[in-house]
Symmetry: none
Subunit: 200 residues, 4 copies
DNA sequence: CGATAATCGAGACGGTACGTCGAGTCTTTAG
DNA sequence: CTAAAGACTCGACGTACCGTCTCGATTATCG
C-alpha cells in the first residue's frame, strides 16, 4: 500500500532521496490526529501541520487519506499485539482476547474501526484492511488452537475454524459495534459458555 | 432523532403546513445516493437535487447528514427483516440469519456499515445506531430462542444470551468486516458446529 | 545585477568552477519561456527544465526570477537595436523609431513590458529597467539629435530634451499601452506633424 | 468585464439574489490590498479575508484576479478624474495633466500599471484596459482640444490627434516607465515647448 | 597521488496560494 | 409558515511554485 520508489531495478536513485524520518513523523501525526478527532474529521492539513510537513510531502508518499491511514495502522498492528503462550488453550485465548481488546481500544483500533465504513466501496482498502487486521488476528488464534490440539487439550473433532471465527467475531462485534467492553468477566464467560465447550 | 416542530404548545400551526411527501422523497433520494456512492461521498446537495428539494427543506427536518442517514435507515430496518417462525429453533435461526444477511447486503446495510466508523466519536449516533440495528436484531434472536425454550427444544441451562451474541456477532463480522457471504452452506455449518451444540 | 563570486581577493577559486555555458543556456531558456507564456506565468522550474539545469544552478547566479529576467533582457537590448546613421535627422529618427519598434515587439520587448508592473514596488528593478531600456533609448535619440544640431539641421533653440522625451514616450506608449503598431505611416506622420516642426 | 446575471430577459431571478453590498466590499478590499502590496503579491485569499467573504463569492463575480482588479479600477477611473474647464486650452491641458497624474499616482493608477505587463498575453484584458484607462483619457483630451478649436485658440491646421497622443503618451511614459513626476514645472515646460507650439 | 571544495542535475523539503467543492445558514420569490 | 432556488461563510481539498536543501557524481585546485 505504501508507495515505494522503483529502486530495485538497478538504476541509481537520482535527486535528493526521500527523508525516511518524515514517514515516521507523518504516521505519528496521523495517529495522533486520528485518535483526537476520528477518521472523518482528520484532515491532511492537520496531519501536515502537526508533522511540520508540507502537504506535498504527504501526497508524495500516499495517494489519499485512506492510504495514509491504512499504512499508519498496518505499521502498528503487527507489533502491538503480543502472541500469548501460557501453556494452555484457555490461558492463551484469555490473554489473546484481552490483548487484542487493548489494541482495538487504542488509537490504531479506532482507526481500524473508521475504515470499516469504506470497505464496501473500496476493494483495495478491503484487501489491505483484511490482511492487516483480520489475518493477523486469525493467525494468532489458529496457532493457539493448534498448539492446544498438539497438547491434546482439544477434542480432535472440535470445529477449530468455527471457534476461531467466533472468537474473532465476538471481539470486533463488541468493540466496534455494541461498544461493550471486553473485560476479564466477559472473557471468562465467553470461554466458559462458548469457546471451551465447543472445543471439548 | 427526527426533529419535529414545536407544536405541542397548543396554538394552531400557522402558515403553510409541511409537505409530508417531502420526507419520503428525501429519504428515497438519500437511499439512492447512498447506494450509488456510499456515505462519505453522499452530499446534501446531491440529495436535494435528486429529490428536487432545497437544502433548507432537508435541514428543516434533520439536523445533519448523519441524522438524515440514520433516520433513513431506521425507517427501513424494521420493515425489511421479517421475523421468522418456522416452528423450530434451527429453522428460525436459519431463516433469520439468511434474512438479516440480505438486509445488510442491501443499501440500508451498506449505510449502516458506513456509520460504524463514526460511532466512537458520536455518542448520539452510537445510541441511535444500536437502537436501530442491534436491538432489533437481538430482539428477534431473543424471541426465537425463547420460543425454542418454551417448546423444550433447548437445554434449560443453555447460555441463551451468549448464543444470541455469537449469532449477531458472526452476522455482522462476516458481512461488514471479512466480506465473506452468509450463504446457506455457512449458516448450516454455523448451526451444526456452534449454535445448536451450545443449545443442547 | 548578475552576481559574481568574490574572486578579487586574490586566491584562486577552489572547487569546481562555474560552467559559463550554463549562463547562456539559462538565459536562452528564460527568453524562450518568457516569449511563450509571459512573465507572470514563467516559472523557475520551467526555465530549469528547458535548460536541463537544476534550480540551484539558477539561484547560484541570480537571486530571483526578477533578476534572471532583467539580466536576460539586458544582455539583449544593447546588441539588438542598431544605431542609425543616415546623414539626416529625419532619416535617423525614422530608422530609430522603426528599429526600436521591432525590438519592443520581439521577445525581449515583451519581457520588458512585463516588468513595467513591478516597477513601483521594486526600486532595484526600476533602476535596472531604466538603465537598460530607457537610458539606451534616450542615448541613441540624443546622439541623433546632437549630430543633427552639429550639421545645422536643427534650430538652435529647439527643445532637444523635450523632443527626445516625446519620441521615446510615443514609442513605448503605442507599443506597450495602446497596442497600435509603429509602422512607416505612423512614423512619417509623427515626424511630419510633431518632431520635425518642433526642431525648426 | 464584470459578469452580470441574465436578468434582463424578463423571467424572475429565482433563488437568493447576489448581495450587491458584497461587490463593493470586495472592490474596496481589493483596492486596499493592492495599494499595500501591489498586484503581483495580491492574493485572492487576502482579498477574501479582508472583505470577510468566502473565495467562492469572489469567483462567482469575477473569473480571475485580473478581472477583479480591472473591474475594481474601472469603477474608479471615471469618477476619479474631473474634467477640467478653465476657459482656455492651456489651462485645461494644465489641469488635466496634473489631475490625471494624481490619479495615476494613487492606488488605481498603480493597479493600472500592474496590468500593463499582462496586455500582450491577454487580449480581453487589453481591450478592457484600453477602454477604461486610455479611452477616457483621450476623450477628455479631445474635448479639451475641440473646445479650444471652437474658441479659435487653435490653428485650424493643427494636428489635434497627434497632440492628443503626445499628451497621453507623455503622461503614462513619465508616470509608469521613467518614474519621473509630473509636476507643475514639467507641465509648464511641456505646454511651452511642445503642445502649444504644435497648436499654433 | 589523494584530499578538499565547489560545481552539476535531480528532486525532496516546508510553505503559501491556487481554484473547487461541500457543510450548514440565510435570503429571496411564490404559494 | 413552507417551498425551491441559490448566494452566503467557512474550511478542506489536491496541485503548483517558491526558494532551500540534500543527494550522487563530476571537475577543478592544493598539498
Amino acid at each position: 500500500m505504501h508507495s515505494s520508489r522503483a529502486k530495485e531495478a538497478g538504476g541509481a536513485p537520482r535527486g535528493r532521496p526521500r527523508d525516511a524520518s518524515r514517514d515516521d513523523a507523518l504516521r505519528k501525526a496521523t495517529l495522533e490526529v486520528m485518535a483526537e478527532v476520528g477518521y472523518r474529521a482528520l484532515t491532511m492539513d492537520a496531519v501536515a501541520a502537526r508533522a511540520k510537513a508540507g502537504k506535498a510531502t504527504i501526497y508524495r508518499r500516499w495517494e489519499s487519506k485512506l492510504e495514509l491511514v491504512i499504512d499508519t495502522c498496518n505499521e502498528l498492528v503487527s507489533r502491538s499485539v503480543p502472541e500469548p503462550d501460557t501453556g494452555s488453550v484457555a490461558g492463551d485465548l484469555r490473554e489473546f482476547l484481552l490483548g487484542y481488546a487493548d489494541f482495538l481500544t487504542g488509537p490504531s483500533g479506532k482507526a481500524a474501526q473508521a475504515l470499516v465504513g469504506e470497505l464496501p466501496h473500496e476493494p483495495e482498502l478491503a484487501t489491505a484492511f483484511r490482511d492487516s487486521f483480520l489475518t493477523g488476528q486469525r493467525g494468532m488464534l489458529r496457532r493457539i488452537l493448534e498448539r492446544g490440539a498438539e497438547r491434546g487439550e482439544i477434542n480432535r473433532h472440535a470445529p477449530l475454524g468455527m471457534v476461531n471465527e467466533l472468537a474473532g467475531a465476538t471481539l470486533t462485534y463488541r468493540l466496534m459495534l455494541t461498544g461493550e467492553p471486553i473485560d476479564e468477566a466477559f472473557v471468562d464467560k465467553l470461554l466458559e459458555q462458548a469457546l471451551l465447550p465447543l472445543l471439548n
